[in-house]
């Protein structure tokens, strides 16, 4: 083994002296790379740098690493090794899955319908909206208030659209953590002979990835959410399903994704997924307890706060809460000053003027969508961090409500009043 001392320095955090005071609660945005994955990938940056397509030992060494990684992942997904296609991100995998189907239809001189749902990631929604320009139809299902797509909603859409080419429903939502019942949904899809794609980027770290058990035809996973590298991803695609590539060039990745493979990234992704698979149950349980503790404390100790999404069918690491009368970006930046890093569904923190399409999609008001904060927990999250965060949050919400024009200390605030009225009726 070579001496990679400067990499070790990175691994053990010596370049980040301030790390002790950080409370990073934004693991759904991205995870750090876990050190085992980095260590396994490091040689492929350095002396094992060969091009996997080269006909010499240097190339072969890299080729073996990629195929080894593919094998590991195929085992986790319970699929054939030829069904794992490495890409450059989750977004790219999604584009390949959706546009790959669209281009295939176009080449046959056909058009058709894509069925998806309102609370998908923008990678899905924007890709689908683009296919509309080519003459495809898209149908976006409305989830129930918990964010769940009901079996009958999908069945009805499939009945109404016999020319459906693909159904794409995410495994777990990136904002509210709602987990969809893929087994049931894919079964409905198959009743109509329609293939089923799922964006599993958020779910991969915690949920069952057995594609046979779930009945999945295509599945997107990326490295930056599972403690692998940013800029890495994969698409599982069933052999029988034919799609067109988006990137043309060499014969890489079964002619579906040209370009020299990101060898270290692929090696890291396989290692990360392998470890995730091993730790899933234990870590899922630990995070579920922490998340429950956090949600319970916030809802109990801060008045007029609401949990977004469902209590049960929820990712272990997701807590998304709306605070009445305050705006999310303000909360976020006040938290930031305390070293607490989270994210918000407010329009102000995005580059658009609309708040979270996910929260509006499950029927939340604009006010509560603007006032939402997502805390997403991860490996380094401790109970102490959660308690510190809730304590700071209490102070911040109190202060921001005091200067808010949408909060009235004496009267019950608007949303709460409405709710009470509804209850009385």
């Amino acid at each position: 083994m070579k001496n990679y001392s400067y990499v070790k320095c990175l691994i053990f955090g010596e370049l980040m002296p301030s790390k002790m005071s950080e409370k990073y609660l934004d693991f759904s945005a991205t995870t750090p790379t876990r050190k085992e994955a980095l260590a396994e990938a490091t040689p492929f940056f350095l002396d094992k740098f060969g091009n996997p397509s080269s006909f010499h030992y240097k190339g072969l060494e890299a080729r073996k690493a990629i195929e080894g990684a593919r094998e590991k992942i195929a085992k986790i997904l319970n699929c054939d090794i030829k069904e794992v296609i490495f890409t450059g991100s989750g977004t790219e995998s999604i584009n390949l899955a959706l546009k790959g189907i669209a281009f295939k239809a176009l080449l046959a001189g056909k058009r058709g319908t894509f069925i998806s749902q309102k609370t998908e990631h923008h990678a899905i929604l924007e890709s689908l909206h683009w296919t509309e320009k080519l003459g495809f139809k898209i149908v976006l299902l409305t989830p129930n208030k918990k964010g769940i797509i009901e079996e009958e909603t999908l069945r009805k859409a499939l009945q109404e659209n016999p020319d459906t080419l693909l159904v794409s429903i995410m495994y777990a939502n990136n904002e509210i953590g709602t987990i969809q019942d893929l087994k049931t949904l894919s079964k409905v899809s198959h009743e109509f002979g329609v293939p089923f794609h799922t964006d599993a980027c958020q779910g991969a770290e915690y949920l069952n990835l057995d594609v046979k058990e779930l009945g999945i035809d295509m599945m997107t996973i990326n490295g930056s959410k599972v403690y692998g590298f940013k800029g890495t991803g994969l698409l599982f695609k069933k052999k029988e399903l034919i799609i067109e590539p988006l990137i043309h060039g060499g014969a890489h990745e079964f002619h579906l994704r040209a370009g020299t493979e990101n060898v270290p990234g692929i090696v890291a992704l396989a290692k990360a997924l392998e470890l995730a698979e091993k730790e899933k149950q234990k870590e899922g349980k630990r995070l579920t307890q922490l998340r429950e503790h956090m949600i319970r404390r916030i809802l109990k100790e801060i008045p007029f706060t609401y949990l977004n999404g469902t209590e049960k069918q929820r990712l272990p690491n997701n807590a998304n809460i709306s605070f009445e009368g305050v705006e999310g970006e303000s909360i976020l930046l006040r938290l930031n000053e305390k070293g607490i890093f989270a994210s918000t569904g407010s329009a102000c923190a995005s580059q658009s003027l609309d708040p979270s399409h996910v929260l509006l999609g499950i029927g939340r008001s604009h006010g509560l969508a603007h006032g939402s904060i997502r805390f997403s927990l991860g490996k380094s999250t401790t109970k102490k961090q959660i308690d510190f965060t809730v304590n700071e949050l209490k102070k911040i919400i109190k202060e921001l409500r005091q200067l808010s024009a949408a909060w009235n200390k004496n009267k019950k605030s608007g949303e709460a009043k409405l709710r009470k009225k509804k209850v009385r009726k």
Binding site: S330, L353, H366, H370, L403, S404, A405
Partner: protein
């Protein structure tokens, strides 16, 4: 973190006013002593501003405000309240001439997507002045 050449998401001035806002209404009971009130914005776009002003001899001598909105919305209302009350208060005529750009300049600029937030502050102010003037008219009428 470098955002637009700075170490924060907004200018230092915005940061200061956001983290330590000035002149906001701390006590609802204070409302009584003010002569004019204005409220602008709506929940859909995510910014609401309220402003209370006290006027003596055509000068704004006291200002209180409340804002629902992002950091730049809070900072810009706080900045405006400082602009109005510094140097012993601003003449109503001068206050009516304040526009969003003036507030923005004092803040050292805002990202383009945020400009609509600061524009609200001057609207709330004009609405409060209008309220004051309509009250004055009705008072003289009853006399």
């Amino acid at each position: 973190m470098k955002v637009e050449g700075q170490d924060w998401f907004y200018t230092d001035k915005v940061k200061t006013h956001f983290l330590k806002p000035k002149n906001y209404l701390k006590n609802e009971k204070e409302v009584k002593k003010f002569d004019g009130y204005g409220r602008v914005g709506n929940m859909k776009c995510g910014d609401i501003m309220e402003m209370w002003i006290k006027i003596q001899k055509d000068k704004i001598v006291d200002v209180k405000w409340r804002t629902f909105g992002c950091a730049s919305a809070i900072a810009s209302t706080s900045m405006l309240s400082e602009m109005l009350t510094e140097k012993g208060g601003m003449k109503v005529d001068d206050a009516l001439r304040i526009r969003g750009k003036d507030i923005m300049d004092r803040l050292g600029g805002l990202p383009s997507i945020k400009i609509h937030c600061s524009v609200l502050g001057d609207e709330a102010l004009r609405s409060a002045i209008k309220d004051y003037e309509s009250k004055k008219v009705s008072k003289t009428k009853t006399k």
